[in-house]
């Protein structure tokens, strides 16, 4: 711990700065033995309640960066802090609890097809050990927020792509995480639906949630006028 502390002191990160920072990448490099460096010396931070886009051509390292945040992969060098906690050095038993602090949204929705909308959205709460009444209340509220009230008993197959994505979003926010990370959330949606989803993200930002959206939809990003982190061949070129 002392080592970590001194390292942070060297980096001249003041305590108040850490408090304001939701997500911090500090000189992060990810190397795969087969392909070499996929991410090189990435440094950026997102403050509480900030919304940002992560963009870049395919293969630029967007997915790898998101995997590092989800602790699906570990970085080869550098430090990743989530709300002051070190993701890069987390022990295996700590990982589930760290993931409960993030809401992930995927391009392919990652819904359980044999469970109802209600059960899908309730999953993070069931895992976190919430009581039945609390689960019902929170799931209703989350579905209401994404405009899917009354569809609790439907199965994902019976919903349109946009609706399935909303179920994914409801699942991501139901546990009230301080950060939402979305991987190409509008990739499979038409522009109108995509704009709807983006407005939804903005509404989360307004209540203090940090939002990071990976997307290659340049026109949509341009419309939104938010911070853009651009990756190019594994390096951060803007943001």
């Amino acid at each position: 711990m002392r080592k970590r502390l001194s390292m942070l002191c060297l980096l001249k990160i003041s305590l108040s700065e850490i408090k304001k920072t939701m997500l911090k990448f500090d000189n992060v490099t990810k190397r795969y033995p087969e392909t070499g460096d996929v991410l090189r010396n990435i440094s950026f931070h997102l403050r509480h309640g900030e919304i940002a886009f992560l963009t870049g051509h395919s293969g630029a390292g967007k997915s790898t960066l998101l995997k590092l945040i989800a602790v699906m992969e570990r970085c080869s060098r550098g430090i990743i802090l989530l709300d002051g906690e070190n993701l890069s050095g987390a022990k295996e038993y700590q990982i589930p609890f760290l993931r409960r602090k993030m809401g992930f949204i995927y391009q392919d929705y990652k819904l359980l097809q044999d469970r109802t909308v209600f059960d899908n959205v309730a999953l993070p709460l069931v895992i976190a050990g919430f009581g039945h009444q609390e689960i019902t209340r929170r799931v209703r509220a989350a579905l209401d927020k994404v405009g899917l009230s009354g569809k609790e008993k439907k199965y994902p197959m019976a919903l349109s792509g946009g609706e399935q994505q909303r179920v994914g979003i409801a699942r991501a926010v139901v546990n009230k995480p301080p950060i939402i990370i979305a991987d190409e959330p509008t990739g499979n949606l038409d522009p109108e639906l995509a704009a709807d989803i983006m407005r939804l993200f903005e509404s989360f930002q307004q209540v203090g949630v940090t939002v990071l959206i990976a997307s290659h939809d340049i026109s949509l990003i341009a419309q939104m006028n938010h911070r853009v982190l651009k990756l190019d061949h594994g390096q951060l070129v803007s943001g």
Binding site: I18, K67, M72, K91, L98, E134
Partner: protein
Amino acid sequence: MKRINRRHQTQEVKQPRYAKPARQDAQRTTTAGGNFVDKLKAYRDLHAHALFSSLGRLVASPFNSVMTIAVLSIAISLASGFYLVLANLQQLTENLETSAQISLFLKDEVSETHAKQLADSIRQNPGIQSVKLITKEQALAEFKTYSGFGSAITVLKTNPLPIVIQVLPKDTLEDTRGLEDLLQSFQQSVEVDSAQLDMKWVERLQSIMAVSQCAATLLNLMLGFAVLFIAGNTIRLELQSRHEEVVIAKLVGATRAFIQRPFLYTGFWIGFISGVVAWFIVTVMMLILRQPVENLSGLYGGNFHLLFFGFGETLELIAISSALGVLGSWAVLMYQLQHTKPA
């Protein structure tokens, strides 16, 4: 305002967030949303849900479930069947006279009077407890009653059975050395055709029993391992078919215990149901065997009754098979979940 600021500052100094181990935070996250009783209820609900949903899954894929349970219950019924057969045989040997009785088969030419004299003279021996003379007629009558060859024996013109003197030595003589000496002295007497220490065949039978018991234990051990592996393999296949669900649960923060739980319950159900089915298989087999065995026992004049599983043994059988189901699943889950990406 001042107070708030001061508190804010002390919090910053006392609890630098970057230095706090993740576990503390993790615990805070898990205990969020409700008091302890609510948590306990939620935990109980989780178990109840896993218990019944895993049973539901077994019912939902009846073909696979029936195949697995059939294989398991045959293995378990083989093991428990062996156990029961041995218990029955043991009951048989326990009833046998294990005292060192010596049977003297007299030569054919020895007359009954001579035999009586011989018996009397043996009785005089201080080392002898009792002597019983079985005449040719008595032996024949006994043979007719108990052997089941009653009608066949009447065909014979002469009685082929010898006169037998059964000698029971005193307890003091029951060390092997004294018995052997006595046996030898009988063998050397001219009237005696052969002298047989009855204990020997009891001993032989008992050692055969010991060997079969040992073999049965080994066999049961093997069958136990088979049950472990079959249950484990079933869970492995189940885990494969639910791989996506496992990954999604992991990504939304499920611990390994949460992911394992429904699979362990599936293992429990497989073991439990197989145990119950095996009990039925063995009991039905014993019911089928009961009549013939009792007929056979009747022919030998025995009072032999087939043993079935007792209440305690039934519970033991079901508990062991359930435990094997859980253990097999657990071993596979330990290995497979370790190798499932993401961590």
